[in-house]
Symmetry: C2
């Protein structure tokens, strides 16, 4: 069981008007397991997506990108399977994914392009599209608006707990709800998106700003977490506005309403993204890596990810061992060519570990030890060369990460 | 005990005329352990070095770079300690390293600039320079030409076996010897050099080509291995030609003699570099990642390192699990923006796993399983977009890597 993550709070999983969800057991990889999800949207919903930058992106990711263009505002359903990624499957994988879209479209009286397919699971194995298609009737029969908890469970693979968060706010006197779910625990270093994340709101949002909203949410949430640095072939974040609330449509993210909605949705997105790290394979520590004083945000992020990906740093956190020179080494190889080590300061929570590139005279091993034993730790690096800052969230590297990933398929 | 590495063959550790080596117990970190080495060069030796690109490079690395310039052809001794890296130690660390150089210079009647210092061990702890200086007499008293084996032992940290290789060849009718030693098992992703590597020959080499020789050796050996992707603060490779053989000096690497000498030295350098991977912390598999068909060597290397650094690929090798889609995912996120997945082929030794980006129709799980069980495996990726190729050597990621690095300081 994860020590860093709690089960979702059902009271915060708000039904979203115009969004019905159904799950079923399709036997995609294992028997007796909910592994198929359909999300049904009423006409008029605004939908946007952000997808993995992995060049070996899965067939469903390729199709999602195409369907979001060809269907435009006409997207009416999401079809999600776990157990099989349908990645590294070539032309055959594409045909199988399209077949599942056509099957669902046929049952709903829609065109194939109005369906967005999503897959997650093992790479380079044929998608059992026949089993998915055979499971559609059961999933459709299950569809209802208060089904978010069961969806959060049905999209899990190596996740130990489902991930779902919600929020409510008032826009123009109208109560608006937001609910999101995500899955993921390994192969996590989203690059423009996450493993799978779905966030829906009944707010009214102009289609023209939906894509911008999705990008900005991804950039400040899923694109700031890493477990093992492995960018998945299937990362997908989909943001849905069902436009069922009674307020005037939000047509700018810079307006007061736009900022309020974005802040509330970002809160949900960050909780979903951080939940993936908290449930990171084998994770025993939740670590925030904050880098300040850089010339650019990009170089701060470079340093933050170098620290967050270092196996030596991650095993030191697992051991609660303040072997903190490993953090300095990661700062040094992050890739800033003109970095001056004599300008670097390092803090572990409130403990000043290194000053001007060397051990702080007042630093005591027991102070570092005290912080390292905590379940949540902030590493703070001051580069001393500018005003930019950035941060990422990660976890430690434990025996269980090796165990889980050595045994995943068996 | 490592399953992939054997103890050095003393018959291949040739004494190098003009190079005497001595070791001693200085108690730098642990008692009763040879942890101090001096290498004494007769006047006239040609010396070149290649050092870490880590911006947090250790004090001794900074000093080596300076002394190689200021002493020129006058370098007369190497002073090597294990147990303490003297990195992340600021101005105080520099002063302590210079103090050890001055102490050895005083005993040898040399200038401080004629000494090259090297350190390896824990980062961000003060160098016990007093203990090093107190141990110098014992190390000097021990100095002799047939002492390579004891040096290879004295420079070990988390290494489980010493690493030493040698070769002999004829140049201009003169028998020439080459002997090298290296250390390293973790924090290994040398970037222009290795943890510590020392290669000496009695061949006569013009000082003008020594630096080029060192760079070319590093580039094709230590710069092609990785254990955990962590570039050390202390990586140093030093190449020494004592110029004691009787042949005419080699003054070009393009000449027949230059090519023969470089090939023989490269053989030693690659064995030393590969030995670090074979002794990689927790390693149970030695993996060659060969990438062919790229537009440039650089992009082939990018893909090879993405595969070699992926924790998911490395744990799959540890488990002997042919979960080979993970390799395709790493190819996809390696960073080639215009990569076309439908052009990619993947082989595991002789087994054709994927063709045109998808699973090969004839690929059978048991064939992949057979190769994965081997102790030495070649992953071969064909990018299908050009004629360039490159390769790196790496190992798997096992429970013991976590154990070793969680416990390293205790």
């Amino acid at each position: 069981m994860p020590v860093l993550l709690s089960a979702p709070n059902p009271d915060h999983m708000y039904p979203i008007a115009g969004v019905r969800l159904g799950v079923a057991e399709a036997g995609i990889r294992k028997a007796k397991r909910k592994d198929l999800t359909v999300v049904l949207l009423e006409p008029g919903a605004s939908v946007a997506g952000v997808f993995t930058q992995n060049r070996f992106c899965a067939a469903p990711v390729q199709i999602c990108r195409e369907h979001l263009v060809s269907a435009g505002a006409g997207v009416r359903a999401l079809l999600i399977n776990t157990g099989n990624a349908n990645a590294g499957t070539g032309a055959d994988g594409r045909a199988r994914a399209l077949s599942t879209c056509a099957a669902l479209a046929g049952k709903l009286g829609l065109a194939r392009e109005q369906i967005l397919p999503f897959s997650t699971g093992v790479i380079m194995e044929p998608l059992p599209n026949d089993r998915i298609e055979a499971g559609l009737d059961a999933a459709l029969a299950d569809a209802r608006e208060d089904n978010w908890l069961r969806v959060s469970e049905a999209i899990m693979t190596t996740d130990t707990l489902p991930k779902a968060f919600g929020a409510q706010l008032d826009i123009g006197g109208s109560r608006v709800s937001i609910t999101g779910v995500s899955k993921g625990a390994g192969m996590i270093r989203p690059n423009m998106a996450t493993m799978l994340g779905f966030i829906a709101t009944d707010a009214c949002v102009s289609p023209t700003i939906m894509q911008q909203l999705a990008l900005e949410l991804a950039e400040a949430s899923f694109n700031r977490v890493t477990v093992d640095g492995d960018t998945s072939t299937n990362d997908s974040l989909v943001v849905i506005a069902s436009n069922r609330a009674s307020h005037a449509p939000v047509d700018s993210l810079a307006s007061a309403e736009g900022q309020a909605l974005k802040a509330a949705m970002l809160g949900v997105a960050q909780q979903l993204a951080q939940a993936i790290v908290r449930d990171g394979e084998g994770a025993t520590k939740f670590i925030t890596v904050a880098v300040e004083g850089g010339k650019t945000t990009a170089e701060c992020r470079l340093v933050a990810y170098a620290i967050a990906h270092s196996p030596l740093v991650k095993t030191a956190f697992f051991a609660s061992d303040p072997n903190l020179g490993r953090i300095l080494a990661a700062v040094g190889y992050a890739g800033i060519a003109d970095l001056d080590q004599s300008c670097i300061d390092l803090y572990l929570d409130d403990v000043h570990v290194a000053v001007q590139g060397g051990r702080h005279p007042a630093y005591r091993e027991e102070d570092g030890q005290r912080v390292m034993k905590q379940a949540e730790i902030t590493v703070r690096v001051l580069l001393g060369r500018g005003d930019a800052a950035d941060r990422v969230w990660t976890c430690d590297l434990s025996h269980d990460y090796v165990t889980i990933n050595a045994d995943y398929r068996s």
